[in-house]
Subunit: 182 residues, 2 copies
Protein backbone atom coordinates (compact mmCIF):
# COMPACT_ATOMS: atom_id res chain seq x y z
CA UNK A 1 0.00 0.00 0.00
CA UNK A 2 1.03 3.39 -0.58
CA UNK A 3 2.82 5.04 2.29
CA UNK A 4 0.70 8.17 2.30
CA UNK A 5 -2.44 6.10 2.71
CA UNK A 6 -1.01 4.10 5.57
CA UNK A 7 0.00 7.27 7.32
CA UNK A 8 -3.29 8.95 6.65
CA UNK A 9 -5.17 6.09 8.26
CA UNK A 10 -2.73 5.81 11.13
CA UNK A 11 -2.98 9.45 12.07
CA UNK A 12 -6.76 9.44 11.97
CA UNK A 13 -6.86 6.27 14.04
CA UNK A 14 -4.47 7.56 16.66
CA UNK A 15 -6.10 10.95 16.77
CA UNK A 16 -9.54 9.55 17.37
CA UNK A 17 -8.19 7.13 19.89
CA UNK A 18 -6.79 10.11 21.78
CA UNK A 19 -10.15 11.79 21.56
CA UNK A 20 -8.84 14.83 19.75
CA UNK A 21 -10.48 16.79 16.98
CA UNK A 22 -8.58 17.61 13.86
CA UNK A 23 -8.41 21.25 14.83
CA UNK A 24 -7.29 20.48 18.35
CA UNK A 25 -4.52 18.20 17.19
CA UNK A 26 -3.38 20.72 14.62
CA UNK A 27 -3.23 23.36 17.29
CA UNK A 28 -1.37 21.09 19.68
CA UNK A 29 1.09 20.09 17.01
CA UNK A 30 1.56 23.69 15.95
CA UNK A 31 0.40 22.92 12.43
CA UNK A 32 -2.17 24.52 10.23
CA UNK A 33 -5.34 22.49 10.37
CA UNK A 34 -5.50 22.64 6.62
CA UNK A 35 -2.23 20.75 6.54
CA UNK A 36 -3.51 18.09 8.86
CA UNK A 37 -6.69 17.80 6.87
CA UNK A 38 -4.77 17.18 3.68
CA UNK A 39 -2.49 14.67 5.30
CA UNK A 40 -5.37 12.77 6.83
CA UNK A 41 -7.28 12.72 3.58
CA UNK A 42 -4.27 11.18 1.91
CA UNK A 43 -3.79 13.67 -0.89
CA UNK A 44 -0.45 15.05 0.10
CA UNK A 45 3.04 13.85 0.82
CA UNK A 46 3.81 15.02 4.31
CA UNK A 47 7.32 15.94 5.26
CA UNK A 48 9.19 14.40 8.13
CA UNK A 49 8.94 17.43 10.35
CA UNK A 50 5.21 17.53 9.90
CA UNK A 51 4.82 13.92 10.87
CA UNK A 52 7.22 14.38 13.73
CA UNK A 53 5.08 17.19 15.06
CA UNK A 54 2.00 14.98 14.80
CA UNK A 55 3.62 12.07 16.58
CA UNK A 56 4.92 14.31 19.33
CA UNK A 57 1.56 15.97 19.82
CA UNK A 58 -0.10 12.57 20.03
CA UNK A 59 2.71 11.43 22.31
CA UNK A 60 3.12 8.25 20.38
CA UNK A 61 6.28 6.68 18.96
CA UNK A 62 7.14 7.86 15.53
CA UNK A 63 6.80 4.41 14.03
CA UNK A 64 3.16 4.17 15.07
CA UNK A 65 2.40 6.25 12.03
CA UNK A 66 3.51 3.48 9.72
CA UNK A 67 1.66 0.55 11.16
CA UNK A 68 -1.71 -0.99 10.72
CA UNK A 69 -3.56 -2.02 13.82
CA UNK A 70 -2.95 -5.57 14.90
CA UNK A 71 -5.69 -7.99 15.78
CA UNK A 72 -6.03 -8.82 19.42
CA UNK A 73 -5.05 -12.44 19.15
CA UNK A 74 -3.54 -14.47 16.43
CA UNK A 75 -2.66 -18.09 16.10
CA UNK A 76 0.03 -19.20 13.72
CA UNK A 77 0.49 -22.93 13.40
CA UNK A 78 3.90 -24.50 12.97
CA UNK A 79 3.44 -24.82 9.23
CA UNK A 80 1.74 -21.46 8.76
CA UNK A 81 2.93 -17.89 8.53
CA UNK A 82 4.33 -15.71 5.81
CA UNK A 83 7.88 -16.61 5.09
CA UNK A 84 10.44 -13.86 4.97
CA UNK A 85 12.77 -13.85 2.04
CA UNK A 86 15.81 -15.98 2.61
CA UNK A 87 18.70 -16.39 0.27
CA UNK A 88 19.51 -19.84 1.49
CA UNK A 89 17.02 -22.56 0.72
CA UNK A 90 17.78 -24.46 3.87
CA UNK A 91 16.43 -21.69 6.03
CA UNK A 92 12.92 -20.40 6.23
CA UNK A 93 12.00 -17.64 8.62
CA UNK A 94 8.53 -16.60 9.68
CA UNK A 95 7.90 -13.20 11.16
CA UNK A 96 5.44 -13.85 13.95
CA UNK A 97 4.99 -10.35 15.22
CA UNK A 98 6.32 -6.96 14.40
CA UNK A 99 6.46 -4.95 17.57
CA UNK A 100 5.80 -1.29 18.00
CA UNK A 101 8.48 0.50 19.91
CA UNK A 102 7.84 1.85 23.35
CA UNK A 103 6.80 -1.57 24.52
CA UNK A 104 8.66 -3.63 27.02
CA UNK A 105 9.28 -7.24 26.32
CA UNK A 106 10.45 -9.89 28.70
CA UNK A 107 11.44 -13.24 27.34
CA UNK A 108 10.76 -16.36 29.36
CA UNK A 109 11.60 -19.96 28.81
CA UNK A 110 9.19 -22.17 30.64
CA UNK A 111 9.48 -25.86 31.36
CA UNK A 112 6.23 -27.51 32.24
CA UNK A 113 5.26 -30.98 33.32
CA UNK A 114 1.91 -32.69 33.07
CA UNK A 115 -0.20 -31.67 35.98
CA UNK A 116 -2.53 -29.08 37.23
CA UNK A 117 -3.41 -25.98 35.31
CA UNK A 118 -1.57 -22.79 36.05
CA UNK A 119 -3.88 -19.83 36.18
CA UNK A 120 -2.33 -16.45 35.62
CA UNK A 121 -4.05 -13.36 36.84
CA UNK A 122 -4.46 -10.39 34.54
CA UNK A 123 -1.36 -8.38 33.84
CA UNK A 124 -1.42 -4.61 33.40
CA UNK A 125 -3.73 -3.27 30.73
CA UNK A 126 -2.28 -3.53 27.29
CA UNK A 127 -0.10 -6.51 28.01
CA UNK A 128 0.15 -9.00 25.19
CA UNK A 129 1.60 -12.47 25.52
CA UNK A 130 3.38 -14.32 22.77
CA UNK A 131 3.51 -18.04 23.32
CA UNK A 132 5.62 -20.33 21.22
CA UNK A 133 5.76 -23.98 22.12
CA UNK A 134 9.22 -25.40 21.57
CA UNK A 135 8.38 -28.96 22.49
CA UNK A 136 5.45 -30.91 23.82
CA UNK A 137 1.83 -29.88 23.80
CA UNK A 138 0.08 -27.20 25.81
CA UNK A 139 -3.28 -25.55 26.08
CA UNK A 140 -2.86 -21.84 26.48
CA UNK A 141 -4.83 -18.65 26.44
CA UNK A 142 -7.65 -16.69 28.05
CA UNK A 143 -10.68 -18.76 28.96
CA UNK A 144 -12.67 -17.79 25.90
CA UNK A 145 -9.84 -18.22 23.44
CA UNK A 146 -7.81 -21.17 24.50
CA UNK A 147 -5.78 -23.01 21.94
CA UNK A 148 -4.00 -26.30 21.93
CA UNK A 149 -0.46 -25.75 20.79
CA UNK A 150 2.08 -28.23 19.56
CA UNK A 151 5.76 -27.75 18.92
CA UNK A 152 6.34 -24.76 16.68
CA UNK A 153 2.92 -23.24 17.10
CA UNK A 154 2.75 -19.56 17.90
CA UNK A 155 -0.12 -17.92 19.67
CA UNK A 156 -0.60 -14.29 20.58
CA UNK A 157 -3.35 -13.27 22.95
CA UNK A 158 -4.20 -10.50 25.40
CA UNK A 159 -2.43 -10.86 28.71
CA UNK A 160 -4.47 -8.24 30.52
CA UNK A 161 -7.24 -10.69 31.24
CA UNK A 162 -7.09 -13.92 33.20
CA UNK A 163 -5.51 -16.77 31.29
CA UNK A 164 -4.00 -20.16 31.94
CA UNK A 165 -1.35 -22.61 30.89
CA UNK A 166 -1.83 -26.35 30.86
CA UNK A 167 0.70 -28.97 29.92
CA UNK A 168 -0.98 -31.76 27.99
CA UNK A 169 2.08 -33.83 27.22
CA UNK A 170 4.42 -35.33 29.78
CA UNK A 171 6.74 -32.38 29.40
CA UNK A 172 6.76 -29.22 27.40
CA UNK A 173 8.94 -26.23 26.76
CA UNK A 174 7.35 -22.89 26.16
CA UNK A 175 8.87 -19.63 25.00
CA UNK A 176 6.80 -16.84 26.46
CA UNK A 177 7.27 -13.20 25.61
CA UNK A 178 5.49 -10.72 27.77
CA UNK A 179 4.79 -7.60 25.83
CA UNK A 180 3.69 -4.74 28.02
CA UNK A 181 3.40 -1.02 27.92
CA UNK A 182 6.35 0.90 29.22
Amino acid sequence: MEPKIIIANAIKRERERAGLSLSALANKADLAKSTLSQVESGNCNPSIETLWAVATALSIPFSFLFEHSNPKHELIRANEGDEVSSKVAHFSAVLLDKAPINRMRDIYRIHAQKGEIRDATAHPTGTIEHALVASGCMRIGPSQMQEELNAGDYYRYPGDIAHSYECLSEEATLILIMDSNA
Copy 2:
Protein backbone atom coordinates in the same frame (compact mmCIF):
# COMPACT_ATOMS: atom_id res chain seq x y z
CA MET B 1 17.60 15.01 18.26
CA GLU B 2 16.15 16.42 15.35
CA PRO B 3 14.44 13.97 13.05
CA LYS B 4 16.13 15.15 9.90
CA ILE B 5 19.53 14.51 11.46
CA ILE B 6 18.61 11.04 12.61
CA ILE B 7 17.38 10.19 9.16
CA ALA B 8 20.37 11.74 7.47
CA ASN B 9 22.72 9.58 9.52
CA ALA B 10 20.58 6.50 9.13
CA ILE B 11 20.49 6.72 5.37
CA LYS B 12 24.20 7.25 5.10
CA ARG B 13 24.86 4.38 7.47
CA GLU B 14 22.56 1.99 5.63
CA ARG B 15 23.80 3.08 2.26
CA GLU B 16 27.42 2.49 3.14
CA ARG B 17 26.51 -0.79 4.77
CA ALA B 18 24.98 -1.87 1.51
CA GLY B 19 28.12 -0.77 -0.29
CA LEU B 20 26.33 1.67 -2.54
CA SER B 21 27.53 5.06 -3.69
CA LEU B 22 25.29 8.05 -3.36
CA SER B 23 24.84 8.17 -7.10
CA ALA B 24 24.09 4.48 -7.33
CA LEU B 25 21.49 4.61 -4.62
CA ALA B 26 19.87 7.67 -6.11
CA ASN B 27 19.65 5.89 -9.42
CA LYS B 28 18.25 2.77 -7.83
CA ALA B 29 15.69 4.72 -5.85
CA ASP B 30 14.75 6.73 -8.91
CA LEU B 31 15.71 9.97 -7.21
CA ALA B 32 17.94 12.81 -8.29
CA LYS B 33 21.29 12.45 -6.62
CA SER B 34 21.08 16.07 -5.63
CA THR B 35 18.04 15.21 -3.58
CA LEU B 36 19.78 12.35 -1.87
CA SER B 37 22.81 14.51 -1.23
CA GLN B 38 20.73 17.14 0.49
CA VAL B 39 18.84 14.62 2.54
CA GLU B 40 22.03 12.92 3.66
CA SER B 41 23.66 16.19 4.56
CA GLY B 42 20.72 16.98 6.78
CA ASN B 43 19.72 20.30 5.30
CA CYS B 44 16.37 19.35 3.96
CA ASN B 45 13.12 17.99 5.21
CA PRO B 46 12.43 14.94 3.09
CA SER B 47 8.94 13.86 2.23
CA ILE B 48 7.54 10.46 2.95
CA GLU B 49 7.65 9.29 -0.63
CA THR B 50 11.29 10.20 -0.90
CA LEU B 51 12.16 8.23 2.20
CA TRP B 52 9.98 5.39 1.07
CA ALA B 53 11.88 5.22 -2.17
CA VAL B 54 15.16 5.15 -0.27
CA ALA B 55 14.05 2.41 2.10
CA THR B 56 12.73 0.34 -0.77
CA ALA B 57 15.92 0.75 -2.76
CA LEU B 58 17.95 -0.29 0.27
CA SER B 59 15.47 -3.11 0.89
CA ILE B 60 15.23 -2.28 4.52
CA PRO B 61 12.17 -1.78 6.69
CA PHE B 62 10.91 1.76 6.70
CA SER B 63 11.50 2.09 10.42
CA PHE B 64 15.22 1.48 10.00
CA LEU B 65 15.53 5.07 8.89
CA PHE B 66 14.73 6.29 12.37
CA GLU B 67 17.17 4.32 14.42
CA HIS B 68 20.32 5.25 16.23
CA SER B 69 24.54 0.46 21.43
CA ASN B 70 25.72 -1.54 23.90
CA PRO B 71 25.99 -4.97 22.43
CA LYS B 72 27.07 -7.79 24.58
CA HIS B 73 26.43 -11.45 24.33
CA GLU B 74 25.15 -13.93 26.78
CA LEU B 75 24.64 -17.64 26.59
CA ILE B 76 22.15 -19.40 28.80
CA ARG B 77 22.08 -23.16 28.47
CA ALA B 78 18.88 -25.15 28.63
CA ASN B 79 19.42 -26.05 32.27
CA GLU B 80 20.74 -22.67 33.30
CA GLY B 81 19.14 -19.38 34.15
CA ASP B 82 17.54 -17.90 37.23
CA GLU B 83 14.14 -19.31 37.78
CA VAL B 84 11.32 -16.94 38.41
CA SER B 85 9.07 -17.74 41.31
CA SER B 86 6.18 -19.89 40.30
CA LYS B 87 3.31 -20.95 42.48
CA VAL B 88 2.82 -24.19 40.67
CA ALA B 89 5.57 -26.73 40.98
CA HIS B 90 4.99 -28.13 37.55
CA PHE B 91 6.05 -24.91 35.92
CA SER B 92 9.42 -23.28 35.99
CA ALA B 93 10.08 -20.08 34.15
CA VAL B 94 13.42 -18.52 33.30
CA LEU B 95 13.68 -14.86 32.46
CA LEU B 96 16.14 -14.75 29.61
CA ASP B 97 16.20 -11.04 29.02
CA LYS B 98 14.51 -8.05 30.47
CA ALA B 99 14.14 -5.52 27.75
CA PRO B 100 14.62 -1.82 28.06
CA ILE B 101 11.74 0.18 26.74
CA ASN B 102 11.97 2.02 23.49
CA ARG B 103 13.30 -0.99 21.66
CA MET B 104 11.63 -2.73 18.79
CA ARG B 105 11.42 -6.45 18.73
CA ASP B 106 10.52 -8.71 15.87
CA ILE B 107 9.90 -12.35 16.55
CA TYR B 108 10.87 -14.95 14.00
CA ARG B 109 10.41 -18.66 13.87
CA ILE B 110 13.02 -20.26 11.69
CA HIS B 111 13.10 -23.77 10.32
CA ALA B 112 16.51 -24.90 9.19
CA GLN B 113 17.79 -28.00 7.51
CA LYS B 114 21.27 -29.39 7.48
CA GLY B 115 23.24 -27.70 4.77
CA GLU B 116 25.20 -24.68 3.95
CA ILE B 117 25.75 -21.85 6.37
CA ARG B 118 23.56 -18.81 6.21
CA ASP B 119 25.53 -15.63 6.57
CA ALA B 120 23.60 -12.60 7.73
CA THR B 121 24.89 -9.15 7.05
CA ALA B 122 25.03 -6.66 9.84
CA HIS B 123 21.78 -5.12 10.98
CA PRO B 124 21.49 -1.50 12.08
CA THR B 125 23.74 -0.40 14.89
CA GLY B 126 22.43 -1.43 18.25
CA THR B 127 20.55 -4.45 17.05
CA ILE B 128 20.68 -7.42 19.39
CA GLU B 129 19.58 -10.90 18.45
CA HIS B 130 18.08 -13.39 20.85
CA ALA B 131 18.33 -16.95 19.63
CA LEU B 132 16.53 -19.78 21.30
CA VAL B 133 16.77 -23.21 19.78
CA ALA B 134 13.49 -25.07 20.08
CA SER B 135 14.68 -28.30 18.53
CA GLY B 136 17.77 -29.65 16.86
CA CYS B 137 21.26 -28.25 17.06
CA MET B 138 22.68 -25.10 15.54
CA ARG B 139 25.84 -23.07 15.55
CA ILE B 140 25.00 -19.41 15.82
CA GLY B 141 26.63 -16.08 16.39
CA PRO B 142 29.15 -13.55 15.11
CA SER B 143 32.34 -15.08 13.80
CA GLN B 144 34.30 -14.39 16.96
CA MET B 145 31.64 -15.59 19.35
CA GLN B 146 29.90 -18.54 17.80
CA GLU B 147 28.16 -21.01 20.03
CA GLU B 148 26.74 -24.45 19.50
CA LEU B 149 23.19 -24.50 20.73
CA ASN B 150 20.95 -27.44 21.51
CA ALA B 151 17.25 -27.48 22.23
CA GLY B 152 16.38 -25.01 24.97
CA ASP B 153 19.62 -23.07 24.82
CA TYR B 154 19.38 -19.32 24.70
CA TYR B 155 22.02 -17.08 23.21
CA ARG B 156 22.09 -13.32 22.97
CA TYR B 157 24.65 -11.59 20.76
CA PRO B 158 25.14 -8.37 18.82
CA GLY B 159 23.29 -8.32 15.52
CA ASP B 160 24.97 -5.22 14.15
CA ILE B 161 27.99 -7.17 12.98
CA ALA B 162 28.11 -9.98 10.50
CA HIS B 163 26.93 -13.29 11.91
CA SER B 164 25.81 -16.67 10.70
CA TYR B 165 23.49 -19.56 11.32
CA GLU B 166 24.36 -23.15 10.72
CA CYS B 167 22.16 -26.17 11.21
CA LEU B 168 24.17 -29.05 12.61
CA SER B 169 21.38 -31.55 13.00
CA GLU B 170 19.16 -32.81 10.22
CA GLU B 171 16.55 -30.22 11.08
CA ALA B 172 16.23 -27.51 13.64
CA THR B 173 13.74 -24.92 14.80
CA LEU B 174 14.98 -21.59 16.00
CA ILE B 175 13.16 -18.78 17.72
CA LEU B 176 14.87 -15.57 16.80
CA ILE B 177 14.04 -12.22 18.29
CA MET B 178 15.51 -9.19 16.60
CA ASP B 179 15.89 -6.43 19.13
CA SER B 180 16.64 -3.07 17.57
CA ASN B 181 16.62 0.57 18.53
CA ALA B 182 13.51 2.52 17.85
